[in-house]
Amino acid sequence: MRAEASRYWRLWLRMAAMSLQAQIAYPLGSVGFLLGKFIRLIFFFAFVAAVFQHTQQVAGYSLVETALFFLTFNLVDMFAQIFFRGVYGARRVVADGDFDFYLIQPCSPLFRMTLTTVDFLDVATIVPVLVMIGVVFTRLPGPIGAWRYALYVLLTLNGVGVAFAAHVLVSALAVRTQELENTIWIYRDVTSMGKFPVDVYGATTRWLLTLAVPVAVMFTFPAKALLGLLSPAWTAYALALDAILLAASGYYWLDSVARYTSSSS
């Protein structure tokens, strides 16, 4: 088991190095994409900060608290983009027949499909996000116990787990249908609703974002836990949902691969 983990770690490092080389080989393109990502981050943050020049609270949250929700969204989203970037090319991999090669390589095709493309541009973008989260931590009201920070970390990782389940599902759909090129963009667009705490939405939308499309679980719950606003029942729900989604997406992936008949060769 340990040797297997070590082998996958070395494999990931090798593929990550290749991703980095590919991005360095296109400096102008990479700088453009990086600048774009910074622009998006800075403008949205400036927007939230500017809004609070004119009001004290949004949905009962102060500027610092709203910033925490926004930054937590970015943290989970960027984490998923850094590590699960391969899914964005899943349909092309299947349509071009490259997936056949994944199947004969001595490693998990799911690992190969989802985890071996690393977006280093987001690594650069996540650094200021982490710094800003650190600043927000120091400005949150009241004493916050270590266990609440631990819960924040746990639920943030839980959010990444839900994101991973969604990416596995998208990969499985690509293998199963050889189509649905833009499915991952639906995920991106819908999850963008997590930039704000789900409390800003109407009751129906809020429930949908908590129970049907778990945007709240991924992005709002970690910040709420840190603020002491998440009940143990909702915490348990978040963890259980992640376990269920990971199991279900894993099963769907295996079933899709079992039905795969090669699309181009």
């Binding site: 296109y26 994409f33 774009g36 927007f47 809004v51 004119h54 090129e181 819908v190 704000f196 939308t205």
Partner: protein, 264 residues
């Protein structure tokens, strides 16, 4: 002119044929609008106005953003980059058509479909969430708003065309195009009204074409005082359009000089 109309018709069929792609594009826009709509609605609770916008004006701004994003910011920039980089553009250059005119016809086809979809989405949103809508009281607003949006759309076409043309000199023009599109959308007021920003930044942006593409046209519709009259907005848009037209023609001539028909 007839050949461009034919290109428009064929492109229209192609856009409608790729229904899944169209649906995905629209889902993204709707998610953004729903998100911003509820954010502003929450902000406006218990207030008669915010930043000088009444509730109906602010929420109409968000809904109008969907229309303008669909009509103004729909373009073929990424396809153009692909066509230049792969050399496929060669086959267009030898045809008896103006490439800009041809591209504009294809652009218009996309814009038409997305515009219709945006009206449908707004209609559904108004029905489902009972969104208050600001209706202009002056006849001039009904006339000047669409003229302003049409000018914005051509300005965007020219700007995107120029940035995409970088592909004639480098195979890495995707990055600058991505960066340009994001900056443009923020600076134009596509995500939030520019009144939110500090006064100095607002003033600086007025010296660029960006706020004249979304922020000012929507404010013409909302009939809000914006420091310049609607006719002045149209005049400034026309001036930017003329300048960008000249620049894009000059750039295109230089681009063709340096074109090496890679892969073609």
């Amino acid at each position: 002119m007839k050949k461009y109309a034919v290109a428009y018709g064929i492109a229209l069929q192609q856009v409608l044929q790729r229904r899944a792609t169209l649906l995905m594009d629209r889902v993204g826009g709707v998610a953004l609008i729903v998100s911003l709509y509820f954010f502003w609605r929450t902000l406006l609770q218990g207030k008669s106005q915010f930043l000088g916008y009444t509730g109906a004006q602010m929420l109409s701004y968000v809904l109008a953003m969907n229309v303008l994003r669909s009509f103004v910011f729909t373009g073929r920039g990424w396809e153009l980059v692909q066509e230049i980089s792969s050399g496929r553009i060669s086959s267009y250059l030898v045809r008896p058509v103006s490439y800009q005119g041809y591209t504009l016809a294809l652009d218009l086809a996309q814009k038409s479909v997305h515009l219709a979809a945006s009206f449908l989405e707004i209609g559904l949103l108004i029905l489902l969430i009972h969104a208050p809508v600001y209706v202009p009281k002056r006849l001039s607003s009904w006339v000047l708003f669409p003229v302003s949006v049409a000018l914005s759309s051509v300005i965007f076409f020219l700007m995107e065309f120029m940035v995409s043309s970088l592909a004639f000199w480098t195979s890495e023009s995707g990055g600058p195009l991505f960066c340009f599109e994001l900056f443009l959308q923020f600076a134009a007021g596509t995500f939030f009204p520019l009144d939110v920003l500090p006064a100095a930044l607002q003033t600086a942006l007025r010296f660029t074409p960006f706020p004249y593409m979304v922020f000012f046209p929507i404010n013409i519709y909302l009939e809000r005082p914006i420091g310049v009259s609607p006719l002045q907005v149209l005049g400034i848009e026309a001036a930017w359009l003329a300048l960008l037209l000249g620049l894009s023609r000059a750039l295109w001539a230089r681009a063709l000089d340096s074109y090496a028909a890679e892969g073609g």
